[in-house]
């Protein structure tokens, strides 16, 4: 949680200790001034990857310095590019980063999704091979789960992998693949047994986007940008060692990965993942005083929920074993966080009035951000699917 979204009265302060002191000094020395604006906007994120164009020297420097210390993935083991921080140290790490309003040095699907799945299911060799390049921002990953006929019913994936001895021959189509046109590699759900029940015939494969037979076609979103794509596989050869977990057991990996994805989306959704400001402050700026009683009441409600959901995210992190996620409860976090974020952006639009209606108008990309949030309760599993997960797995109601 960031400094502004986490007032002193809510944050649990850890007493200054050696780790904090040392970290603070390191940050002071190494975080470039330009990287201390806490920016969260899409165009200030550093995604990394082979084709990454740094937006400034400072962005490059910041990534390299953090990567050298394992600070792009502070909780990952040192062997795999992390800093091996425990939960208490991780909290301090985020507090200190927020204190100077530092940008995240690197964000990626590798960090949020594939990394946790590899740490859990990957072999030691796979971890050594795939994780450090993620941590250094050298390889950018995308997620090949959804297909035209497999959305909420994800286990219905039809993309096929034929066993050719030393490799699988993959054919099929993915859709809504975020940043497929920018990514270097893709982790994909591929049907490797067509006879088995649908959950039992899927494998979790890693594929190089540069391989022959991989094509992407961007799709334009309602917010005007094209962050996602259709992805086509035509006779793509995938070597047998590029599987995570066992053959036909990919669904276990897929589900585990989703719990991490959902937790991540939830945090972003709650506006709590750093750089987010108190809604009241944002609205105050726009309206020169929060004078509209209805809007004010709605914003207060939203602020209360933001704080409480932020505390819930922290609580689940505290409860989880190091490196583990919230499990089935990630569905709750995702549902609550994303529905809240949509409300929050509705209120920001109301506060912005007609100024918010222009593309790149006086309020920048407020409308684009608002439209983008509508996907929060769809991507990574819809709100309805999240409620069904809670209902079945947490409450034990019949399916």
């Amino acid at each position: 949680m960031s400094v502004e979204t986490t007032p002193d009265a809510v944050r649990e302060e850890t007493a200054p200790d050696a780790f904090r002191e040392e970290l603070r000094a390191w940050l002071e020395e190494n975080c470039p001034q330009e990287m201390r604006d806490g920016k969260m906007a899409e165009n200030s994120i550093c995604w990394g990857g082979k084709n990454w164009q740094f937006t400034s020297d400072a962005q490059k420097q910041w990534l390299e310095r953090c990567a050298a210390r394992g600070y792009t993935v502070p909780t990952w083991p040192k062997d795999y590019g992390g800093a091996g921080l425990n939960r208490a140290q991780e909290k301090i790490f985020h507090q200190e980063m927020d204190r100077i309003n530092a940008r995240k040095p690197l964000q990626s699907f590798g960090i949020w999704m594939l990394g946790p799945a590899l740490l859990h299911f990957g072999s030691h060799e796979q971890k050594l091979h795939y994780l450090p390049p993620i941590a250094r921002g050298e390889i950018r990953w995308c997620q090949g789960y959804s297909e035209p006929g497999a959305g909420s019913d994800l286990a219905n994936v039809q993309t096929r992998g034929e066993d050719k001895g030393d490799h699988w021959l993959v054919n099929g189509q993915k859709i809504w693949t975020s940043y497929a046109d920018k990514a270097d590699w893709i982790f994909a759900l591929v049907r490797t047994d067509r006879e088995a029940p649908k959950h039992k015939g899927i494998s979790f494969l890693l594929m190089n986007m540069e391989d022959a037979g991989v094509d992407t076609r961007p799709i334009k979103m309602i917010s005007g940008i094209s962050p996602f794509c259709e992805t086509f596989f035509t006779d793509v050869k995938v070597p047998k060692d590029q599987i995570v977990g066992e053959e036909n057991r990919g669904w276990d990996v897929a589900k585990y990965l989703l719990t991490h994805e959902r937790e991540m989306i939830s945090g972003g959704g709650a506006g709590l993942s750093g750089g987010g400001r108190a809604l009241g402050a944002v609205i105050n700026d726009t309206m020169e005083g929060l004078t509209d009683a209805t809007l004010r009441a709605d914003a207060m409600r939203c602020e209360i929920d933001s704080l409480a959901i932020g505390l819930t995210l922290e609580r689940y992190k505290d409860q989880a074993e190091a490196g583990q996620g919230a499990g089935d409860a990630s569905a709750m976090l995702k549902y609550m966080g994303t529905e809240l974020n949509k409300q929050r952006h509705e209120l920001m639009m109301t506060a912005g009035g007609s100024d918010a209606l222009e593309w790149d108008g006086p309020l920048g990309n407020r409308a684009g951000d608002w439209l983008r949030t509508k996907a929060n309760s769809i991507e990574g599993g819809t709100s309805e699917v999240m409620l069904s997960i809670v209902s079945r797995r947490v409450l034990g109601l019949p399916g």
Binding site: P7, D8, A9, V10, E12, E13, A278, L279, G280, A281, I283, N284, L290, R296, A297, A299, M300, R301, E303, I304, D305, L307, A308, I309, L311, T312, E314, R315, A329, M332, Y335, M336, E384, M386, L387, S388, V390, S391, R392, V394, L395, L397, P398
Partner: protein, 360 residues
């Protein structure tokens, strides 16, 4: 664990059926139960060990309040063990220590007399404490004095020459008239009239004109514990509801199979989980950094009010007709939730506190 222990005890000693029995008999306090709670250290949960308390702190007090909320256990826990004990702890003198010892032993119960209008607003207190020789004369009216009809002592907020002053007086002092109110939740409460009631300097808790130094922490403690009770209440209503979904059949299947109901139940569970975090945080802040706990406490009370309200509304709705009957327990949850919503500041009051702290 404290929670498991408390649950075990309350399920046996204070189930909702007990509240029903008391209501039917017209009883609003259960002194035998309170004595047992005192023996277990609950009455002294915030009393120092030197005064015979168990001194477990606010997080623990909230755990107890939450468990009591689940079964709607009747006790003066929040008024006496939380609010009065916290107020007395702000005062370091022999008289306060003796009072704390009596609370811990279950020998003295307290009620907080603050409200004068229909809403919680301590700063607007009109009741006067006129200086009279070495002492004071208290005149005025209080309402919604929770636990006030049966309490042994009253904490009374009154206006003095240059501010507000908190008095600690026996409830049977001459000039005090208590009218027991017939509350929807069947719990103890009173309207109280003070007619030129004599109070000495000894009766002042803390300093004259400085009530808030003592009262503010006590109110925060009470608000936090009440929020915990309401979250427990929400969980109790929720458990009953989910139990019913699995059992009731319509259209040839358990109604739990209907997705419309599954999703409403799941949503409610999510709300309860999120509120539980706010409650935990409030208790932790009260223990670790009480000076800065106001935001955490108001956040907890605001969330708990909304969540308990949702839980009882959904509870009745998902039960259908039986949820509306007096013979079924859900109504008790609904009525207690409404009283809890108003006591010590309603949703709007606490939302305003959060807003102020968050720069609105």
């Amino acid at each position: 664990m404290l929670a498991d222990m408390a649950r075990g005890f309350l399920d046996g000693a204070a189930p909702v059926a007990k509240l029903r029995k008391m209501r039917d008999a017209g009883d609003t306090q259960d002194s035998a139960l309170w004595k047992e709670m005192a023996d277990m250290g609950w009455a002294g949960v915030l009393v120092p060990e030197a005064q015979g308390g168990s001194d477990m702190g606010y997080a623990a007090a909230n755990v107890l309040a939450r468990e009591m909320g689940k079964t709607l256990a009747v006790s003066p826990f929040i008024s006496s063990a939380v609010i009065a004990a916290t107020a007395l702890r702000q005062v370091a003198d022999a008289r306060a220590e003796a009072a704390l010892a009596r609370i811990a032993a279950g020998e003295a119960t307290y009620a907080l007399a603050v409200d004068e209008g229909i809403k919680f607003d301590p700063e607007a207190t009109q009741m006067t404490a006129r200086a009279d020789g070495n002492g004071f004369r208290l005149s005025g009216k209080k309402q919604f004095v929770v636990d006030g009809a049966m309490a042994d002592r009253l904490l009374v907020l009154a206006r003095t020459d240059n501010g507000l002053t908190l008095f600690d007086i026996p409830a049977d002092r001459a000039g005090v008239t208590r009218d027991r109110t017939n509350m929807i939740d069947a719990r103890d409460a009173a309207r109280i009239t003070f007619d030129d009631v004599e109070a000495t300097g000894e009766d002042v808790l803390g300093q004259v004109d400085q009530a808030m130094t003592v009262l503010k922490p006590a109110l925060m403690a009470g608000q936090g514990a009440l929020a915990a009770e309401m979250t427990g209440l929400a969980a109790g209503a929720f458990d009953m509801t989910v139990g019913y979904l699995k059992e009731r059949k319509q259209f040839g299947v358990e109604i739990a199979r209907f997705q419309a109901l599954q999703h409403r139940a799941a949503h409610l569970w999510c709300e309860i989980e999120v509120t539980a975090s706010a409650i935990l945080n409030a208790g932790r802040m009260m223990d670790a950094d009480p000076e800065n706990a106001a935001l955490a406490v108001s956040l907890a009370k605001a969330r708990a009010t909304q969540t308990a309200t949702l839980a009882v509304q959904e509870g009745v709705q998902m039960h259908g007709g039986i949820g509306m009957t007096d013979a079924y327990d859900m109504g008790f949850y609904m009525k207690r939730a409404r009283v809890g919503a108003e006591w010590l500041g309603d949703y709007s009051y606490h939302a305003e506190q959060v807003a102020a702290a968050r720069g609105f």
